[in-house]
């Protein structure tokens, strides 16, 4: 996990190393302060100030250096963590661009957004913490121990006793508290989902007069969360009195024992005539106390950092897992970069979305389409229509058999070449922020306005575009909310046409367009673009009845094929669908 993430540091390696370096230098400069101060105090006690100026200078200099190093550490960590987050976000985004449709099937779009927003921010915060505080705290502890031992090793043993004890305490508390918090945050998420459901369904709640019922349900959940929170909080806050207890005990022992050592040489002398409990001055006693406080304080800090990392690690794991995601579809070695014509052929094609899936989505598909033909594909939801056409532009790869375009296996083409030659108007089409012209130009960025207008006319979109105050320069709002469903579909068709594709596939993409307009779009396509192969998927018989060939799909197979007239004679499903729709809206015909 760390290895994958570390790859995103890249050009910020320097800052990522400088930040902790300066933090370390700051700690070193700072750690000497109490020690030197002890000398100063002892000089005063001895009423000898010969070294006062030098000592003062050293002290001020050290403090200034610490300030400067601290500043630099902050500065570089800001660059390092921001740069790291920038690169991570970029890596995820780039990775998404390289993935295939089957990868997207595994990730909802909100999950992808979360990877690049919340998760990235979490990782940035962790990184910021890592290059600054996470290093500072342990360094402070280690140096404080060294300093304390250099003053009086015997007395400092108390620290070596206290530190592991407190660490164990902190560890135990978190060990029991973290699972509680995980659980409660999980419940918290569920509560929020529940609230969301209520906001979305407020009309239903009010219509069925269920306000009181919802309140009761919410109350139970909220109280459950409260109880868990209290449990967790009560456990975590034990850290504070535990810390104080350790601190006070240590301080009391150091103060009393220390003063005894100062006055008497406590414990007598060893054989060599050195005091067994070491030597201590008043100034040194005060620095020992300060080192002790630093040690314990930073240990608490370390505990907090530990907790934060457990929170962040979930985000990091999610990001890593996604960065490891590789595209299922890759360019061939020697790709073909020209599509000869719009002929399409399926030979014994079998397909399913995941290897584990039990049933084939497409079974034994054989068909051949000549360039320029109009093809209709009809069948119910989930019968395999959309799956079938997604194989043509190689959004997915077949499991068995072969799909060819212009007489060449789609797997031999350069992917970009193939997709530029095959234009798909998807079922769930999306417009983007920008003007109407911008949106149509997705098909060809450099197209002149005349070309844009030409395709808009074929898609029967020109008239309504001109009815907008700013015509082609009228903005589309995010999500395309300022155009109606039918208008949106027509803009999407225009966009697809601007690519000058050899094959145009419309996946149920005129269902919000009225019948008359739909017919004129079909006519426009036939007269203006006779060489382009047109494949129309629909649930409405009316949309495909004038096609050269119609394929009827059921349970992943092509069960019948032919023209409207022959199918009405031969195909049960086709007849049934036709009859049902005649009954429903015969006036449409």
């Amino acid at each position: 996990m760390l290895k994958t993430l570390a790859r995103s540091v890249r050009e910020y390696k320097r800052e990522s190393l400088l930040a902790p370096l300066f933090v370390a230098l700051e700690v070193v400069a700072e750690i000497f302060l109490p020690l030197i101060m002890a000398v100063l105090i002892d000089e005063i006690l001895a009423r000898d100030i010969t070294n006062l100026v030098q000592i003062s200078l050293v002290l001020v200099l050290l403090a200034m250096m610490a300030l400067y190093f601290g500043y630099l550490g902050g500065k570089y960590s800001a660059i390092a963590s921001s740069g790291f987050a920038k690169n991570i976000r970029k890596d995820i985004f780039y990775n998404v661009q390289g993935l295939s449709f089957s990868n997207f099937d595994r990730y909802s779009h909100t999950a992808l957004v979360t990877r690049m927003t919340t998760d990235t921010t979490n990782v940035q915060n962790a990184y910021d913490l890592l290059v600054r505080v996470a290093l500072r705290a342990p360094l402070m502890i280690i140096f404080s121990i060294i300093m304390a031992f250099s003053i009086n090793a015997q007395l400092s043993l108390i620290f070596l006793l206290a530190l592991p004890m407190l660490s164990l305490g902190i560890f135990l508390v978190y060990k029991y508290a973290i699972p509680i918090f995980r659980r409660v945050f999980d419940k918290y998420d569920k509560l929020n989902k529940y609230v969301q459901e209520n906001i979305k369904g407020i009309r239903v709640v009010k219509t069925f007069v269920q306000e009181e019922y919802e309140k009761t349900r919410f109350k139970a959940r909220s109280e459950d969360i409260r109880d868990d929170f209290i449990k967790g909080e009560r456990l975590v806050v034990i850290n504070q009195p535990a810390f104080q207890f350790t601190l006070y005990v240590v301080m009391t022992i150091v103060a009393i024992a220390g003063s005894y050592i100062i006055v008497n040489t406590f414990g007598g002398y060893d054989a060599a005539g050195n005091p067994i409990w070491g030597d201590l001055s008043t100034g040194q006693l005060s620095s020992l106390i300060i080192y002790g406080m630093q040690m314990l304080g930073n240990l608490m800090m370390l505990g907090m950092i530990f907790v934060m990392f457990t929170i962040f690690s979930a985000s990091a794991r999610r990001i890593t897992r996604f960065l490891h995601e590789e595209s299922d579809i890759r360019n061939p070695e020697d790709p073909i970069t020209h599509v000869r014509n719009g002929a399409v052929a399926f030979d014994d094609v079998y397909f399913k979305y995941t290897e584990e899936a039990e049933n084939w989505v497409l079974k034994d598909i054989n068909l051949s389409i000549n360039p320029g033909e109009t093809i209709g594909i009809i069948g119910g939801t989930g019968m395999g229509k959309s799956s079938l056409i997604s194989l043509i532009s190689r959004l997915y790869d077949v499991d068995r058999g072969r799909v060819s375009v212009g007489g060449v296996d789609v797997r031999d083409y350069d992917i970009a070449t193939l997709r530029n030659a095959v234009s798909v108007v998807l079922q769930n089409n999306v417009l983007f922020t920008g003007t109407i012209a911008d949106n149509i130009r997705w098909g060809d960025e450099d197209a002149p306005l005349e070309a844009v207008e030409r395709v808009a006319r074929i898609a029967c979109a020109h008239d309504f575009i001109m009815s907008f105050p700013e015509g082609y320069d009228n903005p589309i709002e995010q999500g395309g909310t300022n155009v109606s469903g039918g208008q949106k579909q027509r803009l999407c068709i225009a966009r697809a046409l601007l690519k000058k594709p050899k094959i145009l596939i419309m996946d149920d993409s005129t269902n919000a367009v009225d019948t008359k307009t739909e017919r004129s779009i079909r006519e426009g396509l036939r007269t203006h673009l006779p060489d382009m192969t047109k494949i129309i998927i629909s649930q409405r018989v009316g949309s495909v009845e004038d096609a050269d060939q119609i394929f009827v799909m059921d349970q992943g197979r092509i069960v019948d094929s032919g023209t409207h007239e022959t199918l009405l004679e031969t195909s049960d499903i086709y007849q049934e669908t036709h009859a049902m729709q005649q009954l429903g809206d015969d006036a449409d015909e």
């Binding site: 101060m37 100063l40 100030i49 006062l52 003062s56 300030l67 601290g70 550490g73 500065k75 800001a78 660059i79 963590s81 920038k86 985004f93 909100t110 992808l112 940035q124 509560l191 929020n192 989902k193 969301q196 459901e197 906001i199 979305k200 407020i202 009010k206 219509t207 069925f208 007069v209 269920q210 306000e211 919802e214 309140k215 919410f218 909220s222 109280e223 929170f229 209290i230 009195p241 104080q244 006070y248 009393i256 006055v263 008043t282 005060s286 300060i290 406080m293 119910g380 019968m383 992917i415 079922q427 769930n428 922020t433 109606s484 269902n511 919000a512 008359k516 649930q539 429903g584 006036a587």
Partner: protein, 632 residues
């Protein structure tokens, strides 16, 4: 009402917290005093030990101070025990008080939300309403569980420290004061810059995230159009801008703490130097403890001052660290209080819906369920009349507007007799949905009258009115829970037989039986594991189970396959039987079978009549029907 000021919010927060559990809060406060006094006392004990034990002992020997030292030890044990007890108490109590209060707030918010009029939900996006629960409650939680107590404790400690400093020495206190002043200046300067940059960082982050959101949503289109490189390019530009802003914002944020920390260090060493000079030159010391030359005033005071000044700057650092979080929490709290202050949907109705039986043409109210309902109408003169619930709805000359001066409905009259189906037809925004919103009083009409079985609907209690009107909306909104829970959502006492019956009416029973656990299948949030068509079938069953005499139907436009569509259609038709139905129609077949069709345009009914007469008229309806106009 405007959101409250920060100060007012803080006072209200503290007041409410206090009222949650007065005794506990008082104990917490006292405990905090002990805890912070304990922290401060470390420095004081150093002074006492040095001046009262070590110094005399150096001259007079250990035995002379043994008693004194023992007394100090006892004092330390007592003070520290009190301090630890204080900490233990306030942390344990606050954990409960804080969570109790948060629970109260959450419940108050939800209860308020359920009682707000529909127009609140129309005016505020779902995301905005959600953020009350997520962001605002979250910042408040952090404030109450962490910042508030820490802040109080820090303030108390600072007060103690200043007191002790003044007791020891005025000169040194003034010196520390200067240091504190510098630290505050630095904090407000750097902190100000930081929050300023942070805002622009938030803005550019919003831009990147907006772009990401849009691209992820349209990712399949991006791929089909081979726009990956272009997308990367645009993304990079936004991401770079964010990086610049983030690096500067964090720059100020990250340097603040080390800078403050080391200003504290400089103060600390300067104090040591100054103290040494004062002691050495016997400068007279003045403090609340008395006036004496510094040499007498002892080295203990200087040492103690050193550690006091360390604690002092540490606490100032804490304050500046907490300040932005406190500001954020107060912002969140003031939004929450604003939500809680919103006016609830009010109900001045007094006509209620009761079960009844009809005997000899007379209606008698009964307690048990009879399947027969009546309006119970108390009159001003004390009379009580009953009227049978039939489902006769009349709108006469209704005007309506969502906002002042933009009329949405103009002089609309609709007559729906019991059992009739009224189809509303017209473009988006023509006012079809608005009519249905007025019938169940999600909104109040501006002028005109709506009568239900001859009773002005303003006189009917809203819950009773709504109970008598079922609804099947385009947006099916199922709730987490089992299929059974969802079907009997509108009638909690429905028996299993009722539920199955409703499911059968809706044509939903077949597919429900094929679900893993049948009626007991748990629908994950919002029924995500069902197809759109299945969700529609369940929402029809839900309305069937509620069994109300009037129905509002908003036909779905989303494409479902022909077979399911036929099932939905059939279920709908069965549901409509014997009921008064207002249907916002998208299917021509539905329209054709309606008793009356209202063609709406810009808030007015421009054509009315049944299918045949309207076709003959050759007006807008004719054009819609023949497909010359889009119907949405």
């Amino acid at each position: 009402m405007m959101p409250m000021s920060k100060k007012a919010t803080l006072f209200r927060l503290i007041k409410e917290l206090f009222l949650t559990n007065k005794k506990a809060v008082i104990i917490v406060f006292i405990s905090l005093i002990f805890a912070s006094a304990g922290m401060m006392s470390i420095s004081v004990f150093i002074q006492i030990i040095i001046d009262d034990a070590i110094m005399p002992a150096l001259d007079a020997g250990w035995p002379a101070v043994a008693d004194r030292l023992f007394a100090i030890l006892i004092a330390m044990i007592v003070v520290y025990t009190l301090a630890i007890t204080g900490t233990l108490l306030y942390t344990q109590i606050m954990a409960k008080v804080g969570q109790d209060y948060l629970d109260d707030i959450r419940k108050a918010m939800f209860e308020k939300m359920e009682s707000l009029p529909i127009n609140f939900f129309d005016r505020n996006s779902h995301g905005d309403i959600m953020s009350y629960y997520t962001n605002d409650v979250d910042t408040l939680r952090q404030f109450i569980t962490q910042s508030l107590v820490q802040f109080t404790m820090t303030m108390l400690t600072l007060m103690f420290i200043i007191g002790v400093m003044l007791y020891y020495s005025f000169i040194l206190t003034v010196f520390v004061g200067i240091g504190a002043f510098i630290m505050f200046k630095v904090t407000s300067r750097v902190g100000g810059k930081s929050s300023e940059r942070f805002k622009s960082q938030q803005k550019s982050l919003g831009a990147v995230e907006g772009y990401i959101e849009e691209m992820m949503h349209g990712q399949r289109v991006v791929k089909s159009f081979v726009r990956e490189e272009k997308a990367k390019e645009e993304f990079d530009a936004l991401n770079e801008t964010w990086y610049d802003d983030s690096a500067t914002a964090r720059h100020y944020g990250n340097i603040l703490m080390p800078v403050l920390h080391n200003i504290g260090n400089i103060l600390y060493v300067s104090l040591a130097i100054l103290g040494s000079i004062l002691v050495y030159f016997n400068v007279t010391n003045i403090g609340f403890s008395g006036i004496y030359p510094f040499s007498i005033a002892t080295i203990g005071i200087v040492v103690s001052f050193l550690s006091l000044s360390r604690q002092f700057s540490q606490n100032i650092r804490m304050v500046s660290q907490q300040a932005p979080m406190v500001a954020m929490a107060l912002g969140g709290a003031s939004r929450i209080f604003y939500l809680l202050s919103l006016e609830e949907e009010h109900d001045e109705g007094y006509v209620t819906l009761v079960n009844c039986i009809e005997e000899d043409g007379k209606i008698r109210e009964v307690d048990e369920e009879t399947g027969e309902w009546a309006w119970k109408h108390p009159h001003r003169d004390g009379r009580l009349t009953y009227r049978k619930l039939e489902g006769d709805i009349v709108l006469s000359n209704v005007d309506f507007q969502y906002v002042e001066d933009t009329p949405v409905l103009k002089d609309v009259s609709v007559y729906a007799h019991p059992g009739q189906t009224i189809a509303l037809v017209g473009e988006t925004g023509a006012g079809k949905t608005t009519i249905t919103n007025l019938i169940n009083r999600f909104y109040e009409i501006k002028d005109g009258k709506v009568r239900y079985d001859g009773i002005n609907i303003n006189k009917i209690k809203k819950p009773d009115l709504r109970r008598s009107i079922g609804m099947v909306l385009q947006d099916t909104s199922l709730f987490s829970g089992t299929v059974r829970d969802n079907i009997r959502y509108g009638r909690k006492d429905a028996s299993d037989a009722d539920v199955i019956e409703a499911a059968k009416t809706a044509n939903a029973y077949d597919f429900i039986q094929h679900l893993p656990k049948g009626l007991d299948t748990d629908l994950s949030a919002d029924g995500a594991n069902l197809s759109e068509g299945q969700r529609q079938l369940i929402s029809i069953a839900r309305a069937a189970c509620a069994n109300s005499p009037v129905l509002i139907l908003d036909e779905a436009t989303s494409s479902i396959d022909t077979r399911t569509e036929a099932l939905v259609q059939e279920g709908m038709n069965r549901l409509m039987e014997g009921r008064t139905v207002f249907v916002i129609a998208h299917r021509l077949s539905t329209v054709k079978n309606a008793d009356a069709i209202m063609v709406m345009d810009h808030g007015e009914i421009i054509e009315r009549g049944d299918h045949d007469s309207l076709i003959e008229e050759k007006g807008v309806y004719y054009q819609l029907y023949t497909g010359a106009l889009e119907m949405e």
